[in-house]
Amino acid sequence: MDNKELLEMQKIACKVRIWTIEGVFHAKSGHPGGSLSAADMITYLYFKEMNVDPQNPKDPDRDRFVLSKGHCCPALYAALALKGYFSTDEIKVLRHIGAMLQGHPDMKGTPGIDMSSGSLGQGVSAACGMALAAKLDNKNYRVYTMLGDGECEEGQVWEAAMFASHMKLDNLCMIVDFNGLQIDGHVNDVAGLEPLDKKFEGFGFEVLKIDGNNFDEIEHALNKAKTVKGKPTVILANTVKGKGISYMENQVGWHGKAPNADEYKVALEELNEQLKILEG
């Protein structure tokens, strides 16, 4: 992408991070670390890659996105709000009683959410079903699903991977947000996940490895995925957990807790500074 477009993506991603922090702070709970690591990819999907229309969120021909790592919905909600699916006001009452935005994605109540998710491993299977439906109906929409690296410890991920490959779901693109950390520590200390690329290759996937916080690499991989025929693609995206906020980056402790008032202030100062630089 050209510099102008790159700058635009970076600005939106920065705003997605700002609204992620707003949501988690006002909720006094939630999952900032994995939301921030995924923010660039979610931004690219909604603002460049996917054929979606916030005015027609149920369009049967739209591309679908299933956030299998549903706990990282603060970033998804931020992207959806910025895209125009609903007001950013909703984000300030995230997780509150009576709020539209639930702690994990709820397809019944939230425009733009294609699948309820949050119980790890399950979104990937639903994405397979959506991709299969497209094949059955001869439609050319694509299905994207994002899962966590820790989530790959769930057996269902591999049931789904076997199915996707067997059914030749080349309209399915899985994205692993490989930030290296899960609640109990480093993924390879908790459960030997590697070699993840070899595992997916063994399951019949086209495997692409990228820096998931780099828009050029994100674009290149998603474009490449569209050219792959006869098999599904998985993008193993190395990312930085907590990306964009100095004290959260690569810290396991920021998986699932909200910043306090002082930390919130620092986070917004850092992000607004980044945005200021981007806006020149």
């Binding site: 049967p60 397809m107 294609d114 639903a126 991709a131």
Partner: protein, 309 residues
Amino acid sequence: MKIATRESFGLALCELAKTHPEIVVLDADLAAATKTEIFKKAYPDRFFDCGIAEGNMIGVAAGLAACGKVPFAASFAMFATGRAYEQIRNSVGYPHLNVKIAGSHAGITVGEDGATHQCCEDLALMRTIPGMVVLNPADHYEMTEAVKAALAYNGPVYIRLGRLAIDTFNDPDTYKFELGKGITLKDGDDVTVIATGLVVNEALKAVKALESKGINARLINMHTIKPIDKDIIIKAAKETGKIITVEEHNIIGGLGEAVCSVTAEYCPVPVKRIGIEDIYGHSGPALGLLAEFGLDAEGLEKRITEIVK
């Protein structure tokens, strides 16, 4: 006519598929046993074997439903509702997706395969999921209509299927299935027997035999476990004063407790639950097990007599 309800299910799917292109069928390597193979042969392009991976099968069904398909996902009751319970709860129940789950080989009449495959907990598991309809048809004609009703309902439905070939007893010319409405098969004032599924016909034989002993029992066929027919239960409680429930399921969590919930809240009367008394089954021929667990006509006649006296 003797026919297993799993076979009736497969035939019903085929019939409905003719006019409902949105129907697709999933199985988990048990198509020959669940009888979805009948559909598979007729509609190979709309049948998907997911392999021995029930959790994924339910998730795939959810995704298909989210895109407008009406998936029927089948496996043994044990694996469909037990193994994949949480997938059903979170990927199907919570978003209230239009997925139909069929659990075959339910109860002890699985027979020789033994306890690991004899699911006596499926009704209990499925009852706890908000918005889930739970159906347990008693013969071929009822299953045929139940599958139609499941299709007509926009939301998740669990249908229990049996392995054992059983006699039909409903009259196809007059039979009417209404979701959530029990059917009075025999009137009576002394006691009400409420039965469900495969043992309804056994209960019917038992209450008929009891007439000659001077016991005039009412018999209700409760094909829908959820939503349970409150009205028919309250009426029976008021008019007969005591209720006996009969199910090929653990007495915990199934029909018996569903009936008790209604009587306790609206019209307290003594209720005796006949079923699997919180134990595991074991290997043996289906009919032999039914007799051993006291769920055949003879056993039920004896138990009902004891309870009434």
